[in-house]
Symmetry: C2
Subunit: 123 residues, 2 copies
C-alpha cells in the first residue's frame, strides 16, 4: 500500500498530496501524521494540495479530520496551495472547509504557523 511521506522541518510537518486520496491512503495518512506529531512534538502541519484538481466532500472531511486530530495533539493544521478553480468549485458547491485553516502557499502557511507560535508564547 502506498503511503504519503511526511517531511519534518523544524516544528512543522509537511505533507504534499499528489495522488487521489482513497480510503486506505487517507486513513494511513491520519495514522502516520498523528504518530509523527506525537514523536516529533510538532506544533504545525502543512498540507499542500496544489496537485489536486478536485476537492470533493470526502477530501474535505479527510482534511477536517486531520485538522481535528492534530488540534487535540496541540498542533495547528494549515492547508496550502489550493488551485483557484478548486476554491471556486468548493464555494459553488457550498462545501466550506469547516475548521480548516488555509493559506495561499507553503511560505505563507509557514508564516502563519510561526505567528501562531509567537502568540502562544506571548500568552
Amino acid at each position: 500500500m502506498e503511503r504519503i511521506p511526511i517531511l519534518k522541518m523544524g516544528k512543522v510537518l509537511l505533507v504534499t498530496i499528489q495522488v487521489d486520496l482513497q480510503d486506505q491512503v487517507a486513513l494511513a495518512l491520519q495514522d502516520d501524521l498523528s504518530a509523527q506529531i506525537e514523536k516529533t512534538g510538532a506544533h504545525g502541519v502543512l498540507i499542500d494540495i496544489s496537485a489536486l484538481e478536485i476537492v470533493d466532500s470526502f477530501v474535505g472531511r479527510m482534511l477536517a479530520g486531520i485538522s481535528g486530530i492534530a488540534s487535540v495533539l496541540d498542533a495547528t493544521t494549515v492547508v496550502v496551495g489550493m488551485q483557484p478553480a478548486v476554491a471556486i468549485t468548493l464555494v459553488e458547491l457550498g462545501l466550506s472547509l469547516e475548521g480548516v485553516r488555509t493559506a495561499l502557499n507553503v511560505e505563507r502557511g509557514m508564516a502563519l504557523l510561526a505567528a501562531d507560535d509567537r502568540n502562544q508564547i506571548d500568552d
Copy 2:
C-alpha cells in the same frame, strides 16, 4: 498528465517524489523545475525520495539530469530521505549517483544548502 508539485520555501525548491517516475512525468519535472529556478532565482533544490522503494538506473539518470540542469542555473541539488534498503541496493548494483549530493533528511538537506550559501558569500 500528472505533474509533481514544486514547493518554494525561501531560496529553496522542494519536490517530494511519490509516484513511479515514468518518462513523461520525469521530463515534465525537469521542465517545471528549470522554469521555477529561473522564475524564483532559487539557489537550492531538495528532492525527497523517501517514498521510493526502488531507485533504478532510470531514476538515477533522472536525478543526475536534474542536478546537472540546476547546476547550470546556479542551484545546488540535494537528494534527501533515501531509504536504507535503497542505499544498500544502489551500492550492490554499483550504481553511484554521480554528481548528486545526498543528505539524510529534509532538515539536513536545508542545512547543507544554507552552509553552501554562506560559503559562496564568504568567497
